[in-house]
Amino acid sequence: ISAGFTTTYDLVATQFAHYFTLFFGGGDARLELTPPEDAATSGIEIMARPPGKRLQSLALLSGGERALTAVALLFALLKVRPVPFVVLDEVDAALDEANVGRFADALRELASGTQFVVVTHNRRTIERADTIYGVTMAEDGVSRLLSLRLSDLPPDLN
């Protein structure tokens, strides 16, 4: 069991560092085992260094930085234990334009091997989709679905 954990842990740690730097366009991050590192109950600490800043614990980062770091960890888990399709519900909500752009680029690349269904308000994420569905609710409390093109969306959509 412990060997299996160590192998998986190393793989996830490597992927996490990779996705963090990809999403942030720089910087680095790592997972650390809390002491004693060889215990079967040691926890996992997340240390992150956004570009230009110093390494610090996850708790000290901004709202958007924390969200993007969490997404990097989730994607690392998906890479280590691949799934055929992924449904993401507004994971990009807290991200500014630049971060959404990098995140959406990464999604686009991953989408060649994994199918993504992404609920989002962000135009940059929507721009990279192959298919767009709009959901609306009329006054009768019933959801209706429409197939949309990018050009159907208002220009100032988030």
């Binding site: 299996g4 954990f5 998986t8 842990y9 996830v12 809390t34 109950t41 040691s42 926890g43 996992i44 969200a67 969490a70 997404v71 960890l73 989730l74 888990l77 998906l78 280590v80 234990r81 691949p82 799934v83 055929p84 399709f85 992924v86 449904v87 993401l88 519900d89 994971v91 909500a93 807290a94 999604l107 686009r108 989408a111 060649s112 199918q115 993504f116 269904v117 992404v118 609920v119 989002t120 308000h121 929507i126 990279r128 989709a129 192959d130 298919t131 767009i132 569905y133 709009g134 959901v135 609306t136 609710m137 009768d140 409390g141 019933v142 959801s143 209706r144 679905l145 969306l153 959509l157």
Partner: protein
């Protein structure tokens, strides 16, 4: 394996029959607050056998059935069908296209079907387990997933890794 099509009827706010066709790459779902986007994600979870009300944002199992609105009365059944492309053989079942259906009634009972044949819940779960689409495999990241991940204590994060092992 990828999703081909999702059909919903009577599921949460999808009172009338609704069909989503997916592409193999990336599908985006957009719309205003409360329009039904997360309900669509819930439908995928539900048809894949989700039993935990917390993960479906419901209090009782019958809450997934359209409860009516100021202009419509409630319905007695929810039905969701997910059609999967299996030409890669990801699912250990000899069909290039697999449809999984679930019907839920106000009594709390659910019926499950694979390619229109009645099966038990465990048949659906076993099939998906082998395809790595089990409930804890992060195939579906809900709207509070980020918050939940950030709130994990170090020991709890270890569990995430152990589940991926």
């Amino acid at each position: 394996m990828h999703l081909r099509r999702l059909e919903m009827q009577g599921f949460k706010t999808f009172a009338t029959r609704t069909v989503l066709e997916f592409t193999p790459g990336m599908t985006a779902i957009v719309g205003p607050n409360g329009s039904g986007k997360s309900n669509t994600a819930d439908a995928i979870r539900w048809v894949l056998g989700e039993q935990n009300n917390r993960n479906l944002r419901t209090k009782r199992s019958e809450d997934v059935i359209f409860a009516g609105s100021t202009k419509r009365s409630s319905l007695g059944m929810a039905e969701v069908t997910l059609v999967l492309d299996n030409s890669g053989g990801w699912l250990p079942i000899d069909f290039s296209e697999v449809s999984i259906s679930r019907r839920g009634y106000r009594s709390g009972e659910s019926e499950y079907l694979i390619n229109n044949t009645r099966v038990r819940l465990r048949d659906v779960l076993d099939l998906l387990l082998k395809a790595n689409v089990a409930q804890d495999s992060y195939a579906i990241m809900g709207q509070n997933m980020i918050e939940a991940v950030l709130a994990l204590k170090p020991e709890e994060r270890r569990v995430l890794i152990e589940e991926a092992a």
